[in-house]
Subunit: 408 residues, 2 copies
Amino acid sequence: MRQSILFSKTSKTAPKDEESQNAQLLARAGFVHKEMAGVYSFLPLGLRVLKNVERIIREEMEVIGGEEVLLPALQPKRNWETTGRWDTFDVLFRFTSFYAKNEYVLGPTHEEIITPLAKRFISSYRDLPRYVFQIQDKFRDEKRAKSGLLRGREFLMKDLYSFHANQEDADLYYERVKEAYWKIMERVGLKDHTYLTFASGGTFSKYSHEFQVATSSGEDTIYACEPCRVAVNEEVIAEQKTCPECGSDKLKKLKAVEAANIFKLKTRYSEAFDLNYVDEKGKAQLVLMGCYGMGISRLMGTVADVLSDEAGLFWPPELAPYQIHLIALQGAEQKAEAAYEAFRKAGVQVLYDDRDAGAGEKFADADLIGLPFRAVVSKSTGDQVELKGRREKTGELVDLKELISRVS
Amino acid sequence: MRQSILFSKTSKTAPKDEESQNAQLLARAGFVHKEMAGVYSFLPLGLRVLKNVERIIREEMEVIGGEEVLLPALQPKRNWETTGRWDTFDVLFRFTSFYAKNEYVLGPTHEEIITPLAKRFISSYRDLPRYVFQIQDKFRDEKRAKSGLLRGREFLMKDLYSFHANQEDADLYYERVKEAYWKIMERVGLKDHTYLTFASGGTFSKYSHEFQVATSSGEDTIYACEPCRVAVNEEVIAEQKTCPECGSDKLKKLKAVEAANIFKLKTRYSEAFDLNYVDEKGKAQLVLMGCYGMGISRLMGTVADVLSDEAGLFWPPELAPYQIHLIALQGAEQKAEAAYEAFRKAGVQVLYDDRDAGAGEKFADADLIGLPFRAVVSKSTGDQVELKGRREKTGELVDLKELISRVS
């Protein structure tokens, strides 16, 4: 992609109304634009990152047998009355259709849709287990939405729902999702910052779990046991002052952002919607459920927050909108064009800074945008390019052909 | 994919409240589920089709230089007041945030977002032209929503916006989009049913254009000139009773569904948001715009409507959720398993009917689901499989290895 025709541009200053570091950097680098508090547009570079997060999550959900669906944002009031959440779910956007005269909910989660939908297809023990996920836009009327992509009124989320014949099977799948989530956290570059956090299970089980990423921008507080890489959240600390894994009382208080959560729902929703199956003995039983959420735009914001430095963003290769930032310096335009063509032909994802601008501006923008590698073509580099990793201080001169074979 | 664990199931009967053929077939085949009038869930098979339509459209938008973004569904009231459409756009969902105290629009289109966004990045003739598109969920408070996926209250759409320095450039791009749209209509299998339809251009230009697909389920009426493959719509016929291409007055009245439309917006929105650029002479000029919509879920519904027959759906290869429906008949289970493994290893997209069901039920389901090919493995076929195209009456016996090399 030629930067000269890229729809977005970088900016030296952050928007005045943007408090959070992730949103300041993402806005300055031209990845997102804030439309209202908690509501963002994703610009071409930002959308490529978002799609990469989406792809990683989709792949890992498919590994654990997830079947992808797409449920609507518009949901009927009656389903929320059935579960009793019409009056109790505090961040619901509710409104009325002028023509249909229906009252709608703008979906913040989808138990109220997936459970009656599953009822259409699940009737026997032979129909279980089932694992259904979606990647879909969610809406929450948040009281405060000042943390950029970390807390949106509109945001992209993956939600997975599982259906089981018995609790043992539900428990086994819960552990498989945990493993898949660790795999995702590793692939997006956040594993070393993540704590499996024991949270209140409500009425359903002793604990649910959150994947909390430590960062000073986080709105949550967790109490972390460093040797075990686990933590307990604020609800749990009130009852339990020790590490749930090793019993240690040396818990360190950290600010963190909740990237994902997993819940055992037991029969909470199957009971509300009468979701039964007939077991091997011909007896009707309630289906057991689990739900497993992961914020996609929030993960992108978390990576922007945690992995960046003063100069700008840093994207791990699997998330990066492009792999290499090719920079043409004055006097080396033709050589840079040839390098760009060579990269393109080799199928390498390149952002090519072909703008009429000085070296200082181009280098600063490359640091701000944060692609894994920067390749500079100048008069002094001869047949070579200067290659530098985003976090490295100095680059090395490499032969272009060798570089292409290395990255492709 | 093993059909025995597929989340959806087929149904012999259509939902009672579903009037339209596309929705009846898609519901019976387990592709979609109606949540409310005009609001559908996409089940695994249906989502695969939707993603294929999306992919085709994305590819063709990229061919004509489109850069992809993702704009929010939540839009601020003030932008709609700026264009005067807060009071005049008749299908707007409007509602108020309890916490933010803002009035929101649930986006039915995105001129009110993309124009001020473009203003951030376009200031000089050097920043033009720009082509920006998105694939995104849209909302319209439709008076009637009885046509299944052909008219939704929530639906998936591609909207492209172009920005130009002068009308000649805008006109040239308009023609390029027309060509891209024809290419898309060809790839989704609807080209032979499509009429380029001259519609009223409103105050902006003499005509805008619609891509209308002839079908008895269509809500629109077009007046078609068969030799030219063009038509005029109901607004235009009042003023012009002849074919705009050849002048013929032999126009045939058809029912049709509007799959796409293209508009020259001139300065309607750039004026409202003060979107200017400085030209080569240093003079400020209003940017000229075009907008180009295409319904993605609607295209899927149109294909389901137009290409189906009494037995069920029919998907062209580029849209099909899987390429081959592999059917195991009783007594040939092991052979079918081996065939399934061979297909999978070869990377062929196969739906494998491994259910404990009779041949009649399996054949009927294969016709209903409508994959391009059906491959039957039975005791009588020896080392071969019986291969049949969805629209063919009889199949042929082919060697499995040969089949795999043919389809992969």
